[in-house]
Amino acid sequence: MNTPENLKYSKTHEWVKDMGDGKFEIGLTDYAQSELSDLVFVNLPEIGDDVTADEVCADVESVKAASDVYSPVTGKVAEVNEELIDAPQSINSDPYSAWLFRAEDVTDTEELMDAAAYNELVAKEKQ
């Protein structure tokens, strides 16, 4: 299982990248995509929407299930990854490139962990 060192992680299996210019990029982890299996559709937020840390902001669909995505940050949606509409499977094949949305005006992040702590969390869940 892949867990890049340079990212931060939420307990609900989203990854966060500080882009340095005030924006934060958010996606789903490798563990998340493997649990969800083949994704068929993504319901993304709209540009301009407010998002709140630890609250549902999007969802992803597989054939037999729909799963909520929780925002790791509080802020405003600046961009969404339109490519995912036609190719949701990139979340499965390349979870750390297939970002869902980028947030700006971020005022709050929930407690995010580093790669090592996230790997521990996943190891516990697998038991």
Partner: protein, 502 residues
């Protein structure tokens, strides 16, 4: 197999209408469609053969056991179809004057009386076209009650057990309520302490089915409804599992206030591939005035008339209900009568327990007690030992000519298969099914690869596995190959192709 669109040729047609005997009047040019619609152009011969071929690629109750838990796929009596086809019933306009439709009004009136006796409720609406439609209707009745009491803005929550059918929370959301999930205990029934913790002044009501979705009659049911009533809420009964209860117990006695029934389950009307059904909703006396639509009432002229409740909250559909479905159900209940309905429920419960007991050494029920009309087994252990999942097992059953049971429901049981044989199955059919399930279970340990590939489209496997006991020759004869293997559902969802494009 070809689509009907891929048959025929331009200009081919059946001979249905004659010449127009009045001068032709065309609509204004600007109001006319530019191109003719893309519809099949086929002769009647081609239509007849096409649908015959399609019907051979379907599996009905007429084809064999249909042990779908929660669906009650019992035999659909032939006489019901004849009565529902009577021209006196089929040719009647829904807006014809009441005096000219006394027969139809009598059907509703008599059906209402039967449902009142079975359930203990005071009045019914026949508007809902299906169970989910009935749930929505019942919840709106509850909403109307709270509105009349001035509690609409405070009583906003409906409590639903985690074992509930998906339509329950979906219906609550359509009725504008917030859904509060409450857990089941380790016996598969409502956890009373957890329930007490979530009720309060914001409780509008509870939705429950009893026997519940794991096939158990909740022994605390009277306490459950009491808890809700003490908090000022109302209790909604999902009647999907009523086949276990006719003449055995009445929802009104359990403390429920509103319910729906599924005529296409308990009352033997055919499923039609997904409808039409009928989901009448009944309630206690003081709620009857809120019900939608109208009910047949005897007037001073001695005739039946349709009358709306004094505080009816509205209407669920344009006209009176799925009337022909109700005709079928009434024919059925008249035929069974008071003793036949009791016999039906008793044998539904017997057949389920018979199967449960006979499979208990290999596939014990998730809750190892006497069940009602259905029981749930978990294939979690089988999956851990062999890799064979509930899905694989179900697909293997197809090859034995048995429709698979309900899969992966309810969500509180992992790798679930829910089995409901119904009362209209002969003992031999049950024994054959038990034998098939036992054989598939054995094969899971020796041939898990074969299982992952079920159902097979050719019969090579028939010559590989040789069962050691007698009866092998019979089973080989009945083995079924399917016209397709497992379809690619991922591509179907990622790249939806929903119409013929030409």
């Amino acid at each position: 197999m070809k689509l009907i669109y891929e048959k025929g040729a331009p200009g081919r047609h059946a001979s249905i209408l004659g010449k127009c005997d009045v001068p032709e009047v065309m609509p204004p040019v600007d109001d006319m469609r530019k191109e003719k619609p893309l519809l099949p152009e086929v002769s009647e011969t081609e239509i007849s053969r096409h649908y015959q071929a399609l019907s051979k690629r379907a599996y009905g109750v007429c084809d064999g056991l249909y042990p779908l838990g929660s669906c009650t796929m019992k035999y659909n009596p032939s006489v019901d179809e004849d009565i529902a086809a009577l021209p006196e019933f089929t040719s009647v306009h829904p807006l014809a004057p009441d005096e000219t439709v006394q027969g139809s009004l009598t059907v509703l009136s008599e059906m209402e009386k039967v449902l009142m006796a079975i359930t203990g409720f005071a009045g019914f609406t026949f508007e809902p076209a299906a169970g989910a439609h009935g749930e929505f209707t019942g919840l709106l009745t509850i909403k109307a009650y709270h509105r009349a009491n001035g509690d609409l803005t405070t009583r906003t929550k409906i409590i639903v057990p985690d074992s509930a059918h998906g339509t329950n929370p979906a219906s609550a959301a359509m009725a504008g309520f917030e859904v509060i999930n409450t857990p089941s205990d380790d016996k598969g029934c409502i956890d009373l302490d957890a329930l007490r913790a979530v009720v309060g002044p914001d409780t509008a009501g509870l939705m429950l089915t009893n026997p519940n979705t794991v096939g158990l009659f909740d022994p605390n049911i009277v306490e459950v409804t009491k808890i809700i009533h003490e908090a000022g809420g109302l209790c909604y009964y999902d009647g999907a599992n009523l086949n276990a209860a006719m003449g055995i117990a009445r929802p009104a006695d359990m403390g429920f206030d509103v319910m729906h029934l599924n005529l296409h389950k308990t009352f033997a009307t055919p499923h039609g591939g997904g409808g039409p059904g009928s989901g009448p909703v009944g309630c206690r006396e003081d709620l009857v005035k809120f019900l939608p639509g109208s009910r047949p009432v005897k007037g001073s002229d001695g005739m039946l008339h349709m009358e709306a409740g004094s505080d009816s909250y509205g209407r669920m559909r344009a006209f009176n209900g799925n009337f022909l479905v109700i005709v079928k159900a009434l024919t059925y209940v008249k035929m069974l009568g008071r003793d036949g309905l009791l016999e039906a429920s008793r044998n539904a419960v017997l057949n389920a327990n018979y199967m449960r007991v006979k499979l208990s050494d290999i596939l014990p029920a998730a809750y190892d007690v006497t069940c009602m009309h259905e029981f749930v087994v978990s294939l979690d252990d089988l999956k851990k030992s062999t890799g064979v999942s509930a899905l694989d097992f179900a697909k293997a059953m197809q090859e034995y000519g048995i429709h698979p049971p309900t899969m992966y429901f309810p969500m509180i049981v992992h790798e679930a298969l829910m089995i409901e044989p119904t009362e209209t199955e002969p003992k031999e059919t049950l024994d054959e099914a038990i034998h098939a399930i036992r054989e598939i279970y054995e094969r899971s340990y020796h041939e898990s690869e074969w299982m992952h590939g079920c159902p097979h489209t050719d019969s090579d496997w028939l010559h590989e596995y040789v069962p050691e006991d007698t009866g092998a020759a019979d089973r080989l004869e009945k083995a079924v190959t399917t016209v397709i293997g497992r379809p690619d559902e991922v591509t179907a969802a990622r790249h939806p192709k929903l119409t013929y494009q030409g």
